[in-house]
Symmetry: C2
Amino acid sequence: MSNARTLPVLELEAVVPCCPPLTERTLTAQEAERTAAMFKALGDPVRLRLFSAVASAPGGEACVCDISDVGVSQPTVSHHLKKLKEAGLLASERRGTWVYYRVEPSVLAGMGRLLTGPA
Amino acid sequence: MSNARTLPVLELEAVVPCCPPLTERTLTAQEAERTAAMFKALGDPVRLRLFSAVASAPGGEACVCDISDVGVSQPTVSHHLKKLKEAGLLASERRGTWVYYRVEPSVLAGMGRLLTGPA
DNA sequence: TCCCCATATCGATGAATGTCTATGTTGACG
DNA sequence: CGTCAACATAGACATTCATCGATATGGGGA
């Protein structure tokens, strides 16, 4: 179709629209606010383990019951998953009794680009 | 005895030695502790701006006076730079009156690898 | 030597955060 | 229905943290 001409690269970047690579220029206050929220979400050991559990799960998704063994109580797990969701890193979907979490598409690439640049 | 014979390659990687890509497997508690500390350091807007200011500075380094304009007091800037240093993200060196900060080598690549994998 | 500038440290304080127990909600299954 | 399992929410509590003003440190120049 006609709009197939738009650069797909731009659409990809729009999912995590924020900010040039950290090596390009000093971030503005707004950019820093938004981006720091993502790093902050990964800045807790329990959350980082939960995130890596989801990110490494077969099929790209995991139900809470499969990743809850991180040494804290069930409500705490739920609380951390909520934080990761609010930060835009995870998405969740209920299917029957279970709730499945998956990594929000392009988050990994987007954050990676912040650190290492477009290359 | 002579355990000084450890491989230098390992020492190099030891700068950011931690952890496979987040998509590979669930991190151990220890790995998560260490890695989360890095993300946490970037999880504050002021610190993130300071870090990007240093990372994007010409010559790869910046004196504090060049990056202090982030909207907080001078002691607060100093405090955040210390945190970034403790997290292993920045290094500092005094030259005359000024103190210069630079990004610790391999930090950007190391953290990028965590997110996007070796590719 | 004395002052000034750049940066670090100290101590205090209010806000944010991680954790828990208790309880609510939602769907599956007799 | 009633009950159970999976998950979320609410409230409380202790700890951590970001920030500030005051002060210390340390080098350069007059």
